[in-house]
Symmetry: none
Subunit: 225 residues, 4 copies
Amino acid sequence: MADTNDITLKPRRAPRQARSQATVDAIFDATVQVLLADGLQKLTTIRVAERAGASIGTLYQYYPNKQSLLFAVLERHLVRIGDTLEQAATAVHHTPLDVMVCAVVDAFVKAKTAHMEESRALYTVADALDSQQLVQRVRARNRAILSAMLATATDVQFDDLATATFMFSTAMIGPMRAVIEGNAPSKVTRSLRKQIGALCLGYLEREAQPRASARSRTDKIKTAA
Amino acid sequence: MADTNDITLKPRRAPRQARSQATVDAIFDATVQVLLADGLQKLTTIRVAERAGASIGTLYQYYPNKQSLLFAVLERHLVRIGDTLEQAATAVHHTPLDVMVCAVVDAFVKAKTAHMEESRALYTVADALDSQQLVQRVRARNRAILSAMLATATDVQFDDLATATFMFSTAMIGPMRAVIEGNAPSKVTRSLRKQIGALCLGYLEREAQPRASARSRTDKIKTAA
Amino acid sequence: MADTNDITLKPRRAPRQARSQATVDAIFDATVQVLLADGLQKLTTIRVAERAGASIGTLYQYYPNKQSLLFAVLERHLVRIGDTLEQAATAVHHTPLDVMVCAVVDAFVKAKTAHMEESRALYTVADALDSQQLVQRVRARNRAILSAMLATATDVQFDDLATATFMFSTAMIGPMRAVIEGNAPSKVTRSLRKQIGALCLGYLEREAQPRASARSRTDKIKTAA
Amino acid sequence: MADTNDITLKPRRAPRQARSQATVDAIFDATVQVLLADGLQKLTTIRVAERAGASIGTLYQYYPNKQSLLFAVLERHLVRIGDTLEQAATAVHHTPLDVMVCAVVDAFVKAKTAHMEESRALYTVADALDSQQLVQRVRARNRAILSAMLATATDVQFDDLATATFMFSTAMIGPMRAVIEGNAPSKVTRSLRKQIGALCLGYLEREAQPRASARSRTDKIKTAA
DNA sequence: CATGAATGAGGTTTCATTCAT
DNA sequence: TATGAATGAAACCTCATTCAT
């Protein structure tokens, strides 16, 4: 696999016949399967083609090189997570902070857990590939989503929204990744959502200022005093 | 690079002469340098040997295969971080929680930041290597260290110490890794310690119970009321 | 591209409909274009088909294999040069030697220069193809043309006409090819016709015997003496 | 075989042990042999390695790619011809033109004929390789050699030495190449030296001016008259 | 007739590892 | 012990050609 620079990562051809679309899909799926079954080290283009029931030549008709294959798989995964996040986040615009955190963490953990094996495999892919660009693009999108959501919290607001968002998103990733990579006591795995929720909420509440317009309980007390 | 199973990862010989030790070190350092300069993809045994000023034959006298080389580098890095953590943690046994968190986060961020490039490079190595075992061992040690520390907190105690420790350690990793991989706004990078401190403390305070025996300031106030 | 032996080089079907003929022509032209634009190395059947606005399937309906394609192009080029030569040569039958040489060299240089790029590209093709047979056939024809012409020279005759003809034709090729391949000082390129004329004439006059029947100026002088 | 641009054509390693030098030579020779026996089309690195009695890996230790192999062979051939030419030319400095031409043509034809098969094979190589640079360098050298020689002719001098030299050198190539490629009547092949000599001399005498200082026989006669 | 998806032999090249010197 | 030449399995990728639709 050559250097990543100056290599096209985009799939080569938008197939026009129904037959080809099936082939493209088969190759894509085979890539995921080989990745899960054998790991990145043993993922060779031949092996992928074989598992897809296609010839090596066919594979290269649709993906110009090995990287583009992995890239495609990685991209779908990340986009999928991003989409899930977006749905969840959008749904809780204009709600209190704790509702937001709950919703987002829930969606995130659920999405990652549902495709846990794929996630694990793709961590490997992400840094074997020089996928900085893709990863950063996706992360930027995710932060934008979270940012937009947090800005509408009914009970609080943030001095430094960018930082809060960054910490929020990366705070989720730390424990989640540890679980995915199998480095967690099993007890944790079960209560993961609650724990990550606590982590994020603990941080965000600390950093938030109460919002003047919408008075929270605390405000009332303070005011009363 | 052959399969990871059934391959010795331990350095081949514990060299007894000073000259040999120098060679081993040179090879080790060269590995790190090549890793930083060229990345894992371009790290070949020959290149390492050349940079070390040795021949491949010599390299293979001390490291039975490429993996063992990378393993050694990875191990030192992880152990170094662990040691730093241990020192910091031990120093703040029997102090209040906030002091503990501050000390540990400080040490962690400082250690990672000091060897930032090495850290980045080694994330790649850790994935490529089937280094599950090593990583888990190290993480287990780190958790033990933190656990032992938290248990002596003067102001709080934890129902579920294992979980708290797990979340504590992984919470640090999430944002740190994002920064190392260059996915963070520069503003964050500067205030990283404070932010990660807030993240951890926010979580731990939520999960902690006040310790009956050693009354904290809060207790006193409450009691006074 | 398979072995040259046992492969049909002739176009596969002599198309009878106008539409087909257009397709054949398009493919033929595309071949030349690709050859000029990308060189022989990058000339693939697909690329040719694409440029011709046809599909590979169609290409293979008219040309049984890649070689036949190149062969056709090469042949046209050589035949074209040959035709030019023939016209020029026929026109100067029964004239003095210097007129003949002038005419032929003129025609040759003009023809080659007009399709200079094509010429250059086709040198490559001729080598890659095992086109010995074609080349030899064409050269034989050319020699026959020149031979026939020289035999009618009004002022001289040749003891060894075959040799003279051979030298004549190849003498033109040497400098011409060097110019085409870009290995000539630009000054030469401009005066090429005159130079090649001098080369050929210098040789032929040396090798010629004055013709008894038609007395040249030299004869008269000698006789007068 | 990849594109020629941005590819190192120089041999990879100057071997330090005697053993390697033998290997390099073996590979080199094998390349020539395969070229002669099977032609460029069938020349594969594996085949070369096999014939050299080496492994493919060994081949690539000394030649970074297939092109460099061919390049090396081509270079030696051209340099060899050039050297022969140089020797011959230098030996006849300060002699009359006809002596010079005889000597040079003799050397040229002899050199080419001696390695006739190699010559034929290398014509193919020369334009498969983008060896423009090499070829032009060599031709420039050859022209310089001839130029220097012609300048010392005792009986004549040239107004336009560059052009004369160019024509001289390319005039030799035309017929020679035709013979090598098998496109010549066998009769010619035998008298080739004489014929090429006549060709060159015919041209050069035409283009030369008599040298005032050193009077030739003709001069004397004229003067006498 | 036209299409273009599929094929797969075959080519180039890399690099971890061995072993004779 | 040190060396570095040699090894060769194995990876990636191309492209002429076929054939079902």
